[in-house]
Symmetry: C2
Subunit: 334 residues, 2 copies
């Protein structure tokens, strides 16, 4: 695993599994907040903030979806790193389809934004990064918190009156986002990066127990929190949409495909076909990234054929109560 130590880049600097062979994800380092309050340290303003993302990364993908759903494309600019991540970490190579240069700082490597924000930074260099162009620093690199800020603090600059954290649902959304994190969102990584049979067995069992549970839950309700589309669905989506093509084979989450689930599969298609979700899925970045970036898991770096699920197939979930925000239909996305 590569990381920065006191602002210096080190390849292979630390092991990411604990003594029992379980994958141990480091906490994100920058935890400031953008606020709707104009007097705040980081006030929500159009044109001030920038997102560094990878289309491959499920955590960064969350922020892209919320940005699209609320119509924050003009307010918050984006740079997209190369899905192939080698010893130098995430980097900008704008000649690859879907990738961009660093529009803000002109850096070659994402790690330079971390050092620019904190010259002594020690830790992993991850996406998403929410960058403040005015103060020239990282506001936050924790996807759950960036997702929440975009959702709740940028109302004045958003094109669409959409909230994914609606009154009356907030406790439930918080609980769901928390509940699905360890067994599902992080669970696929714990399964794939397990170094021992016991660690693998624990992770894969928790993963499918949780998927079974939410498959049952979604038999009678359209979304995780009920009849409203929320951040919990965004958090679930970015894992599910990668599952059959990547996690199933690459991370050996292979009890079954998502497309074999009675309710999770139509639920996934429903989300995919909702404006803001499918448009942000760049599957070639996803498959290239995983299969070529983890030689400890897939040493040959070959991208497999994969099952190619038909995300556009009819889902019939509109027979259940609720639906996506009407604004999404009225003001379709670019």
């Amino acid at each position: 695993m590569n990381m920065l130590i006191d602002g210096e880049w080190r390849a292979g600097a630390y092991e990411s599994t604990d003594e029992e062979g379980e994958f141990d994800r480091q906490e994100s380092a920058f935890r400031d907040s953008v606020s709707a309050d104009p007097d705040a340290e980081f006030p929500a303003e159009a044109g001030r903030y920038h997102l560094y993302v990878s289309y491959a990364c499920p955590w960064a993908h969350r922020t892209l979806i919320v940005r699209s759903l609320l119509g924050l494309e003009d307010a918050i600019s984006v740079s997209v790193v190369d899905p192939y991540r080698e010893d130098d970490g995430w980097q900008f190579t704008s000649d690859k389809e879907g990738c961009t240069e660093d529009h803000v700082n002109g850096f070659d490597y994402l790690r330079e934004t971390y050092v620019a924000a904190d010259s002594d930074f020690t830790g992993r260099v991850t996406v998403p990064v929410l960058w403040d162009k005015e103060r020239e620093t990282i506001v936050n690199n924790e996807s759950k918190e960036v997702m929440r800020m975009l959702d709740t603090e940028f109302g004045d600059v958003a094109e669409r009156e959409v909230t994914l954290y609606p009154e009356g649902y907030r406790d439930e959304v918080d609980r769901l986002v928390e509940d699905i994190y360890e067994p599902i969102n992080n669970g696929v990584y714990r399964t794939g990066f397990a170094e021992t049979q016991a660690a693998y067995d624990r992770a894969v069992t928790e993963l499918f127990d949780a998927l079974d549970h939410y498959d049952d839950l979604l038999a009678d309700q359209r979304y995780l929190a009920g009849d409203r589309l929320t951040e919990a669905d965004v958090a679930m989506f970015t894992t599910l949409v990668r599952f059959d093509e990547v996690y199933h084979t690459h991370f050996m989450c292979n009890r079954q495909f998502v497309r074999e689930y009675d309710n999770l599969w139509p639920y996934l298609r429903d989300l995919y076909q909702t404006h803001g979700f499918g448009e942000t899925v760049q599957m070639d970045h996803i498959t290239e990234h995983y299969y070529t970036t983890h030689p400890d898991v897939s040493p040959k770096r070959i991208v497999p054929l994969g099952p190619d699920p038909d995300f556009e197939a009819p889902h019939h979930r509109d027979e259940l109560p609720g639906g996506p925000p009407a604004e999404l239909a009225e003001k379709p996305l670019r």
Copy 2:
């Protein structure tokens, strides 16, 4: 890859892929024949021959199935190697469930049988091995040929009058066994051991094109050659039964599971439930072998959860013309 060179064991002695990154399977070395003719060099006799097999190996598995179908258990003895194969090659470790010691020679390693048969032997050490206890040598180690000998030459010592190479079907059986070998039986290995994206793409495309073709063929006929169970079904079975649990994930043959095929999946269950097929499937040997023996493919040597297909589910293939030999029902196997 480990092999014998002039009778000496060498670990990592040669590369098994060609310059284009394609897996190149070495031809089997011992190609003599047992014959029904009592004056032949190797005449078919009860008690004279011995099979060295691994339950993990699809090639060895073919010979075990034919031995069971014809009722050759008393006539031809068997030793079973450890599914875990490391730098010493196939070995005997009788303390593991389903494994045996070397009942004939008392060897620790299978390679010793090769050197006993040919003190200067150069090549890979593989299963199955058909051993002649009288002349103390290897008769043949090519599964297609051993399968054929057991099927056609041991009629006088077989308990059951079953043939898998019936008159009127022979050309078709020969053609089928040949046709499925490269894209399917060997195709899963060519897919999994491909060293380049191009070699992988070629192999996986040929594999699924062939599976699609036989799925269509089996819509209207019970067996590959029509209404009769033949060696072609035995050859197809040993690949299909390993597919979802192993080849799909381990060898990245991941366009779909066999259990997602309309006809191949009931066909596989039909065979599995035919006496002689399911009884010879030792799935724990199969999964342990593949996932722990190829660190170049699965470096963590972790056996994944897998899909656990229900081979005992009803198959409804008896609505099609034909069926297994009546003798199989009348004289069930041990």
